[in-house]
């Protein structure tokens, strides 16, 4: 882990920083929550939180913002992981928001519930009166995120104002907020996709099976490989085919694409990620392709 010169490896340094951030929030906030999707970044977050408070339990619940359009493998993983950790699981349901008339669902074959997540997320935060929400966003993911703070202030509408962010110096985080406002906290800010995979390998963290190479029926749409199912109906002329694929990110099935890959172990994936020429969001997320500022616009409204 260390050398005689009192040096830390980059993974040790990133872990120490993230653990520090988790403890700062637990100490300074009354009702934090960890946003948990069952994706690799949120899995790493939960692992880090477990380490930060060991041998005590993680002192806050996790919340899944559930579009209802999930990969079954991920749901199975979520429930098992939550049971193992003993952490409390809350679900903020997009279906519920639709049923209550809070949002209107998109229609048509390309409909996605992805944008509706923001409403379910903000409703969940308000309902439980959370004052801090841990998110797994990384600055290397997307250019609007490159400017996000570790402690990112949200007003009473959950909005992010990128031009008016608090300066963040040393490791002195400013978590002060008025009632109704909250802070999004990003402990993985300085991690890259490769760091995440190297850490998963080092720590022996288990992941949902869809991250690894498997056979799947897919259809090519807008340059992405989507999995056709009840939420992703085939369009005119589309021909589904069998392919050897894996997922680089885990999200709503309607907008998360698979990549062709034979990588079946974490080691294989590390090799693949080190050689890849596409960012993970660029390769697999339809939601970010909408426009150059798609992520910035969604973040302003309160997205993850």
């Amino acid at each position: 882990m260390t050398t005689a010169h009192y040096e830390l490896t980059h993974l040790d340094a990133l872990e120490a920083e993230a653990v520090h951030i988790f403890r700062e929030v637990a100490a300074e906030f009354e009702r934090p929550v960890l946003l948990f999707s069952g994706g690799k970044d949120s899995i790493v977050m939960l692992h880090l939180a477990t380490k930060a408070f060991w041998p005590a339990k993680v002192p806050f619940p996790v919340m899944h913002v559930d579009t209802g359009h999930n990969f079954p493998e991920v749901m199975e993983y979520r429930d098992r992981r939550v049971a193992e950790t003993g952490v409390k699981l809350l679900v903020a349901s997009v279906q519920e928001a639709i049923d209550k008339g809070r949002v209107r669902e998109q229609t048509g074959p390309r409909a996605s519930r992805n944008p509706l997540q923001t409403v379910a997320l903000l409703d969940g935060i308000e309902e439980h009166d959370f004052d801090a929400a841990f998110g797994g966003a990384r600055r290397d993911e997307e250019k609007a995120r490159a400017k996000e703070r570790v402690f990112s202030f949200r007003d009473e509408f959950g909005q992010w104002d990128p031009k008016n962010q608090r300066p963040e110096l040393w490791s002195l985080y400013n978590g002060r907020r008025h009632r109704g406002e909250h802070i999004r906290v990003f402990p993985l800010s300085n991690w890259t996709e490769l760091d995440i995979w190297q850490y998963i390998e080092r720590e022996g963290i288990e992941l949902p099976s869809i991250y690894f190479s498997h056979e799947r029926t897919v259809v090519e749409r807008d340059g992405m490989l989507l999995w056709p199912n009840e939420h992703v109906p085939l369009l005119e002329g589309e021909q589904p085919f069998e392919a050897t694929v894996r997922y680089r990110t885990v999200g709503d099935v309607t907008c998360t694409g698979a990549v062709e890959s034979a990588a079946s172990t974490v080691d294989d994936i590390i090799e693949e990620v080190a050689a890849t020429r596409l960012t993970e969001r660029g390769a697999t997320r339809a939601d970010d392709r909408a426009s150059e500022a798609a992520m910035e616009d969604r973040k302003r409204e309160g997205y993850f």
């Binding site: 009192y6 403890r23 300066p167 963040e168 002195l172 008025h178 490769l194």
Partner: protein
């Protein structure tokens, strides 16, 4: 693989974005979808060449106005090191952003245009890097291709800068002739400048000795969180969690806890991975003591014969970051290590002109982006070291209690 944090400063004209773009590109850290997006936007805007600055300008307003608003963080890695680059804009909110980026940096990268030589701005960059005690300073004399790779031009700029830097507190200085556009001396040594015998920029950053950037002598452990599981497996467990701020801590060490002054001994240092033989900065660990004494967040564990200053009175250099000027006599929230308190501005000793280094003792206040020396009175004693001895126990932030904005960055003298 170690991690190195670099802060860069400069304006678009001196080629900073091109330099960063070059580092990212040559270390294969730019992905093709990012490059395509930049190429598309460049074409739409009618730029003559692919504008690598667009890689770093993340916000809509920045792309529309062609300016950089905020600190952006970039990541790249070589087999030897992982690099985090805090890229700060040169014009808007310059001081506030540069101070933010420099606060965590191991190295500061300053660019000058070889045709223009040192500008007032270059001196300002160097001064802020030294004020923030960035341990390593690198001056890149850029656009050497436009002065025919002339050694004389480079030497004149290097000499002038070294003379200026001698007046500052600069630990380690390197001056490198480069062309970011042509790739000279960025990743590998350039054949165009055989007279230059030093390392390429990337090689220099890979080889910087950063272990001694941290204070490994004065043991400082600010208690961040008290871990008490109250479980049947650990009924009496009481651990003090935190990040080591200085020195090396070992089981068996005699310690004293501030502010109570009660002595004890380290029984164990632990993480979920098991016991730790030696804890040093910036490790996050949990310490158990042999004695059951009352300790809470904001207390500090240190060695009996090596203690920080315990005081309610601070003398500090403060960079003002609030939109509203500092209120003389005003009260602010202060956060130092894990210890929150309130503070009152007793006196502005002087305001420092960061261009001339002149001290104006008659200045009435500090406005946004101004720096001055303050005397502060704090509601509870803080456990501080001079910032030049320890960047963690010597730094604090000031927060406006009504807006909750971070309005000041302080360095203890």
């Amino acid at each position: 693989m170690e991690m190195l944090r670099v802060a860069t400063a400069g304006s678009v004209d001196d080629g900073k974005s091109t330099l960063i773009g070059r580092l990212l590109y040559d270390t294969k850290s730019i992905f093709s979808d990012q490059l395509q997006a930049v190429e598309r936007t460049s074409q739409q805007r009618g730029d003559e060449y692919t504008n690598l600055a667009l890689l770093t300008d993340g916000l809509r307003a920045e792309r529309e106005q062609g300016i950089t608003i905020d600190v952006a963080y970039r990541y790249f890695a070589t087999p030897r090191r992982k690099f985090i680059v805090a890229d700060t804009p040169g014009h808007i909110q310059y001081t506030r952003n540069m101070v933010t980026g420099a606060s965590t940096a191991n190295a500061a990268l300053i660019l000058v245009d070889a045709r223009k030589g040192l500008l007032e701005q270059s001196r300002r960059h160097a001064f802020l890097a030294s004020l923030l005690r960035v341990p390593h300073l690198v001056l890149c004399v850029n656009k050497m291709d436009l002065v025919d790779y002339d050694e004389g031009v480079f030497d004149a700029i290097a000499d002038e800068f070294r003379n200026f830097a001698a007046k500052l507190d600069v630990g380690d200085l390197a001056v490198i002739p480069v062309s970011a556009l042509a790739g000279d001396n960025i990743v590998s040594r350039s054949a165009n400048m055989p007279w230059y015998e030093g390392a390429s920029l990337l090689h220099h950053l890979e080889e910087l000795h950063i272990a001694s950037d941290r204070n490994l002598i004065d043991a400082r452990f600010p208690v961040q969180y008290v871990i008490r599981p109250f479980s049947s497996d650990h009924p009496d467990y009481r651990g003090y969690a935190g990040q080591v701020a200085g020195g090396i801590l070992k089981p068996g060490d005699d310690v004293v806890v501030l502010p109570s002054g009660l002595p004890s001994r380290i029984a164990a240092i632990e993480t979920m991975d098991g016991p730790v033989a030696e804890a040093f900065p910036p490790m996050s660990v949990t310490i158990r003591l042999e004695d059951d004494i009352d300790i809470s967040r904001g207390d500090m564990i240190c060695r009996p014969h090596n203690q920080p200053t315990v005081s309610q009175d601070l003398e500090a250099m403060v960079c003002w970051m609030g939109d509203e000027p500092m209120r003389p006599g005003g009260k602010y929230a202060i956060k130092h290590t894990t210890r929150p308190a309130r503070t009152m501005v007793k006196d502005l000793r002087y305001r420092l002109d960061i261009n001339t280094l002149h001290r104006d003792e008659s200045a009435p206040t500090l406005a946004l982006n101004e720096i001055g020396r303050l005397q502060l009175r704090v509601t509870a004693p803080l456990f501080t070291d001079p910032y030049r001895v320890n960047r963690t126990t010597g730094s604090f932030i000031l927060v406006d209690e009504s807006t909750n904005a971070t309005v000041g960055a302080g360095m203890v003298l």
